[in-house]
């Protein structure tokens, strides 16, 4: 964000070096802020809130990682995916399978298999024995699936709402598959992780949970920096161009398909990591992570925080989930009303989300709430306008025309 502002406000500074220096400085400041916030979350926050709340916060932070991935494809590239639950759950399953196998003695298979009369470990469980496979699998498998799905869809220039519907259909496919296959992955019961062990410690224990919280904070910071890096450079401008006018990108000689597939795969990988972190902190992964409602909820976090703003995605995920916890503790039966109203409000009244509202509209809205008119912006007076003065010099007219008679000030303060 700070990049954009430096670029637009930096037009007056003569020379490219000064501009680059300024943007480099802004980048360094931003990095510093990210590191500082990360350190606060790592060292200060655990000292102040209780273990239960810290566990909740850890889970919400891992949901914020998914929100970053969704912001990357929706906010910047304009692809509304309603199927991110697939990648989230795949990451969760990848780590749960590994944990389950590593806890068992050599050659044994998880308990639930015996319920369905399976004695041989299914083939796709085999690689999970290796502890080097899982850390790669939690982002690689979701990325590959996302890339494949994206390739099949984008290749045919299926976009907009059709893309959303197809991702939702894919979600239903995966949900039904995981839900129906008792013999392969314990079906609707899911896989538990809180009874397993990692490095000789119980995954559900307090020590391990604290480590997971720290890991979540670090991964969130890394995911933020990755998304920031992707969206700030030329690649990011390409994504925004695809969002704003894909046909024009195509006419300019670029192939949007490759960019879209790549960014969708990255987003899927981020969701996979988030799913793994969420799974180990909540103690179970089940097909419910692939329910239609959960995937749409992910989108609303981004919408509440503010599309095309990475900070907004994180803020939105945290705010909505804290709100959900507080409200559903107090009034369990009316939470859905609030959630539904949230969708409506965000779409109709707050299209730019919280962050976008602060950035663009907060001042005028607060003024109008107190019955004051919005600040009206006009063009600068003609005698101080840079271009007019240059033209006047060029055409040998020393005195510009009197502004009051020639042009009326144009209001641009009204929201369109």
């Amino acid at each position: 964000m700070s990049d954009m502002t430096t670029e637009t406000s930096g037009t007056e500074t003569p020379g490219i070096t000064a501009k680059a220096e300024q943007s480099g400085l802004a980048k360094r400041w931003e990095l510093l802020i990210v590191v500082a916030i990360t350190l606060i979350f790592l060292f200060l926050v655990p000292a102040f809130i209780s273990g239960f709340r810290l566990g909740l916060l850890g889970r919400f932070l891992s949901l914020a990682i998914v929100a970053l991935g969704i912001d990357l494809i929706w906010g910047f590239t304009g692809l509304l995916s309603l199927g991110h639950g697939i990648f989230f759950a795949l990451g969760g399953y990848a780590i749960a399978m590994n944990l389950q196998l590593n806890t068992l003695p050599e050659g044994a298979i998880p308990d639930f298999f015996s319920l369905y009369g399976v004695s041989q470990l299914p083939w796709f469980w085999q690689p999970c024995y290796s502890s080097g496979f899982s850390p790669v699998a939690i982002f690689l498998i979701p990325s590959i699936i996302a890339g494949l799905l994206g390739y099949l869809v984008f290749r045919n220039r299926i976009r907009g709402v059709y893309f959303s519907i197809l991702t939702q259909a894919a979600l239903v496919v995966f949900f039904n598959f995981f839900n129906g296959q008792q013999k392969l992955i314990n079906g609707t019961n899911g896989l538990k992780t809180n009874t397993t062990e990692l490095f000789g410690m119980s995954v559900g224990g307090n020590v391990m949970q604290f480590y997971f919280y720290c890991a979540t904070v670090v991964f969130l910071a890394l995911a933020y920096l990755l998304c920031r890096w992707l969206t700030s450079g030329r690649f990011g401008r390409m994504l925004i161009a695809i969002r704003d006018d894909e046909n024009r990108v195509r006419f300019s000689g670029y192939d949007p398909t490759a960019f879209k597939v790549l960014v969708f795969a990255v987003s899927g990988g981020i969701a996979g990591i988030a799913g793994a972190l969420y799974t180990v902190q909540s103690g179970i992964v089940s097909p419910q992570y692939m329910s239609i409602a959960f995937s749409i909820e992910m989108v609303i976090w981004v919408a509440v925080g503010g599309r095309a703003s990475l900070v907004g995605a994180i803020v939105g995920a945290l705010v909505v989930n804290w709100g959900k916890t507080l409200l559903s503790e107090q009034y369990p039966d009316i939470w859905l009303f609030f959630q539904g109203a949230l969708f409506l409000i965000v779409v109709t009244v707050l299209p730019d989300g919280i962050i976008g509202w602060f950035r663009y509209r907060a001042k005028d809205d607060l003024r109008s709430l107190f019955g004051k008119p919005p600040v009206v912006a006009t063009y600068p007076r003609l005698e101080v306008d840079e271009t007019v003065r240059q033209e006047a010099d060029l055409y040998g007219k020393t005195q510009p025309v009197d502004p009051t008679t020639s042009t009326a000030p144009i209001k641009s303060g009204e929201n369109s």
Binding site: L80, L152, I158, S164, N176, I292, I296, T348
Partner: protein, 388 residues
Amino acid sequence: MNTLITTLFNGVSIGTVLLIVALGLAIVFGLMGVINLAHGELMMLGAYTTYVVQNGFKTYLGTESQGLYIWAAIPLSFVVAALVGLALERGVIRFLYGRPLETLLATWGVSLILRQFVRSVSWGMVGGLLAFCGLFFGGKWLLGKSARIPSYRQNLVTTGLFLLSGAIAWFVGSNINNDPQLARPWFSARNVDVTAPGWLQGSIRVTAGIQFPASRLFIIVLTLLCLLGVYLFLQKSAWGLRIRSVTQNRDMSACLGIPTAQVDAVTFALGSGLAGVAGFAVTLLGSVGPNLGVNYIVDAFMVVVVGGVGNLLGSVIAALGIGIVTYLLGSGTMVRLLGGADGGAVVSFFDFFATTSMAKVMVFALIILFLQVRPAGLFPPKGRSAEV
């Protein structure tokens, strides 16, 4: 031979249920380009209307004429869903035309609200809602008529009015809720059952060994009637002509004097009403619950996407095709046709998909493959404006 007929009948029967659900969606999505995720909840409202009508008949007319309720339930479920759809269009969707992704999110919000509304609706809630609507909209109307408020003060006034009428409505609602009789939810979160009339409960014997359940036959007939009605409405009536012309070219229609806003409202109400009828139809198949709609909505969208947007014939073919394939896979007919449970890799492959949920997996995978060949569906929209 018997297998063929049973397969065809069951496939067509699954297909017509899909079709009657997708019909309203084909109109709303196909003709207007609006993604209505609340379509399933409009269906659910239709189903609950049927339940209420049935209970009304039972209470006021006695059990002997109870079977007649369906003749009242079909039009009423249409009307209720159409009215809710009309309110939805006027209240939310008309502000979001041209922003399909936002429409999608907003209608999902509406669907969440409707689901919870059905769970917790009680007299107190209805009283509070009525009080709020009366005060808020009445107040806005009065203020708009009598006082001249500058545009920049509108927000202030609206917020004040909102808070004031909200507080009064809350007071009214909680006062009504003090009476435990009135505070009881009408339906609660549990599923309710609609008993089909006696003549729909049996089955009709065609030949020895083949029986068609009467309720399934009734749904097939109902779907055909709805299809015919929609066709006649779109092709022969004045409003149908307007709807078609707005679909083809909105700007030109507006220039020629067609009231496009009204056309939008009518189209949306028609689609919603058909969802209500679909809701009636599914009460014949199983129990009615707040989450009824979610089970159908994705399938219905698939029908429209496969059929080609804006094409009713495509939707019909797609629904029947999907229905037959689903039945072939899901019931294990494919396995039997290929020669029993132990017939090699192909059979064990189909055996793997021989449950309802796994058949869905297979069908959706096939749909994604199909869209590789025909990205715009069976009958893609023609012309330069076609945008896949």
